[in-house]
Symmetry: C2
């Protein structure tokens, strides 16, 4: 293997090495600047870390203001102030990108509202909240992918444009109209699972971290029209192994702060806990009704005070591809519920028996007797006709992981999936800057804050 | 850090450990079976590696045929045959997924044509070509991402649904019609670059490996409607650093088989080489005309016999965001040309000066005087107005990398990007199984081969 690249060191790398004797060049933004009589202190941010690097300037031009992009040459010396081992004693400073304080939105409106920042996504990324969230996002992706790779999983790129509406939920986006390009109606994928199962049947252990799309009309902090989903499938049929693997994967990704065994309860017992809770829910819990978000949060936040697997849901509440348990009433599945989010991961043993799967699909109205050859799901059934492997898997909304872990680790409190991704899309909102396309009520509220 | 998962070992892991004394269970497909009088040899494929594991069965049911999914319990013993250190002496064998040889397409048509396999994507994945390609794809992804992470780059998820048509090429797909969902016309991204530049301006060094979409009507082996692109952007303005970094990254990913310095020639000199070549080209090379695919392949395959950077193209041939060189005629850019593919990577220093960028955009017709506030590109210009960082970057078609490296390393010869991704989409073709949606000429040619 060749060595790592010959790029100059980032501030993060400089701070980690701690060497205080070398000359260096730093290019970045001024995050803050403090002028004293003899000397000026500027905190330089190159995007690599939360700390930034303190620069000490003997002569400092007035053009060095908050947000300005500068190139600084100087010598790293031991820091005399607290907080950092080293600081940059500047020989020469050059403004490479001026930033007029009178027009820079981030400065003109310091303490910008969440909504203002959402309307200026390209500048929102420069806030510390977003920088830290994006770095955490990348770190979590690396940690999870490393874990899966080391466990023998093969990363697969599943298709985004598809003819299948995974669970028949009808929330998919259409790509173009009619049949002009692909020769068939095209949709944006709502889940990679069905395609990933075809990869699984060839490669044994597979995963993907892929964009998914749902035409969600609900405007909660848990839903986006475009989001990223980690999905994995592998050969096995043990629900116990499935939950254990998910627990190991997440604990690996987030370190040991949650290092106790996560409880598992059946759906049936979860309902009993909710019924016994004396909590006043908007939707009374009932064994014939799905868990509501308020129920999920109660279980994770109040009752178990941490992640909890709810397993073996009633068959009628879950999609056609989940494998029936021997009781005939429930399916071999789990939802992992966590604080602040509710459902973080859902997974199940998949129905690998052709006859059972076909019955489920008929019942769900996805196929009808006799149309198999033409049906979009025929390949899914075909996998069961030709050397069907017992298999199982899960899907995790990646933004939800950020909302949970960011707060859990005390790193970033995004509160909403809209702050867990750089450029979120939801109903009525798209693009880097879309002030002009806000709903009228949002407009008015924004204008009130700005005026 | 917690240990790696507690999943059972894959065949790849078993072969790597080489331990020959433990009892184990393997679940996989029968890749080949050879019955002798006393004993049967079956090669078991769990998808983890090209080798598979040889299983030795004393008693073997007739239902164990090619493609059947089996679960085998037995003991790993030193192999008596050549090729592998260990083999599985089977105690018990269970068919978990039967596979009728009379209906299994992969067996009924052994030596399946490329076109037949493309029409059965879900089963195509079980061919050795596709399995190896998918594993190579995952390995290259890991190697490149490790290199970028170690070099201080932050992985960013750029948006798929966007209001921007990156270079104004008009080849984007529309998502839905009208303004009903997002409040503005929505497209599938043709390149993440412009959005990635907003991430760059916040995080310094960024990259993404993201799906891109082009409504390409050309049906060559270099084009897909849906493909994956690696894109990176970072703070710097040195074309020399840009080419060097790309070279280091690729050499890291592919090992040392190509370990000599890759030549760099200017566009101007490349044209001279072509003109002097005595080669008869369909398009005669000319300094005022872009390089054609035949020119690119000639340079990489015949003249330089390996990767070559062509740099400093005429300004008029390249998009608006590339930074002008001091000569006023050329831009600070490169295309990396490789054998079998032609252009693998394109990159440039980006125009970070607002006035120059604005002139380019006016000239390209992307903006007109006075409409800036409403324009989809306003945020792109805004990045230049507020602390603009000098930066540069590149984009690489991931499928093209597979076509080149697969052949170069002698691993897989895909020949076409259509075999470099699991479920390719191109004009007229989508879905896992689309026999019924072939063009009529393709239909006839397919039927002729099958009958």
């Amino acid at each position: 293997m060749r060595p790592v690249s010959r790029l100059p060191q980032t501030i993060k790398q400089l701070l980690a090495s701690g060497k205080a004797t070398s000359f260096t060049t730093i290019t970045g933004h001024i995050r803050s600047i403090r002028r004293q009589k003899q000397v000026t202190f500027a905190l330089i941010d190159d995007g690599s870390c939360a700390e930034g690097l303190q620069a000490v300037l003997k002569n400092c031009s007035d053009s060095l203001t908050f947000g300005t992009a500068v190139r600084l040459n100087g010598k790293l010396i031991p820091s005399r102030g607290p907080g950092q081992d080293i600081e940059l004693l500047v020989d020469s400073a050059e403004v490479v990108g001026p930033c007029d304080p009178s027009t820079y939105p981030l400065q003109a409106h310091s303490g910008n509202t969440t909504e203002f920042l959402r309307s200026n996504l390209h500048l929102r990324l420069r806030t510390q909240l977003m920088q830290q969230t994006m770095r955490l996002r990348a770190d979590l992706k690396s940690a999870i992918e490393s874990f899966l790779n080391a466990s023998g999983f093969v990363y697969c790129h599943t298709p985004i444009i598809t003819g299948i509406d995974a669970e028949g939920g009808g929330e998919s986006f259409r790509v173009e109209e009619g049949k002009e390009f692909f020769g068939a109606p095209a949709h944006l994928t709502v889940s990679s699972q069905l395609h990933l199962e075809a990869f699984q049947a060839a490669l044994g252990r597979v995963y993907t971290l892929s964009p998914c799309f749902r035409a969600e009309r609900s405007m909660t902090g848990r839903h986006l029209a475009e989001f990223w989903m980690l999905e994995a499938e592998w050969t096995s049929s043990s629900l116990d192994e499935l939950c254990g693997f998910v627990e190991d994967m997440l604990k690996h990704a987030i370190g040991d702060t949650l290092d106790h065994a996560w409880p598992r309860v059946t759906f049936h017992d979860a309902i009993k806990i909710l019924e016994a809770s004396q909590q006043s829910f908007a939707f009374p819990p009932h064994p014939s009704q799905p868990l509501q978000s308020e129920h999920e949060k109660y279980l994770a936040e109040v009752h178990f005070k941490g992640p909890v697997f709810v397993i073996n849901y009633p068959k009628a509440m879950k999609p056609f591809y989940m494998r029936a348990n021997d009781d005939g009433e429930t399916v071999a599945c789990f939802d992992l519920l966590v604080p602040r989010v509710g459902e973080l991961i859902g997974g199940s043993v998949r129905e690998e028996r052709e006859d059972a799967l076909r019955r489920n699909m008929l019942q769900a109205g996805l196929i009808s007797e006799g149309d198999m050859a033409e049906n979009a799901y025929s390949s899914y059934l075909s996998l069961r006709q030709h050397g069907s492997l017992p298999h199982m898997g899960f899907g995790m909304g990646f933004e939800r992981l950020l909302v949970w872990i960011g707060a859990e680790k005390g790193l970033v409190e995004t509160g909403s999936v809209r702050e867990a991704v750089g450029m979120p899309r939801w109903k009525g909102r798209m693009g880097i800057r879309h002030n002009t396309q806000l709903d009228s009520t949002e407009w008015i509220s924004l204008l009130k804050r700005l005026c």
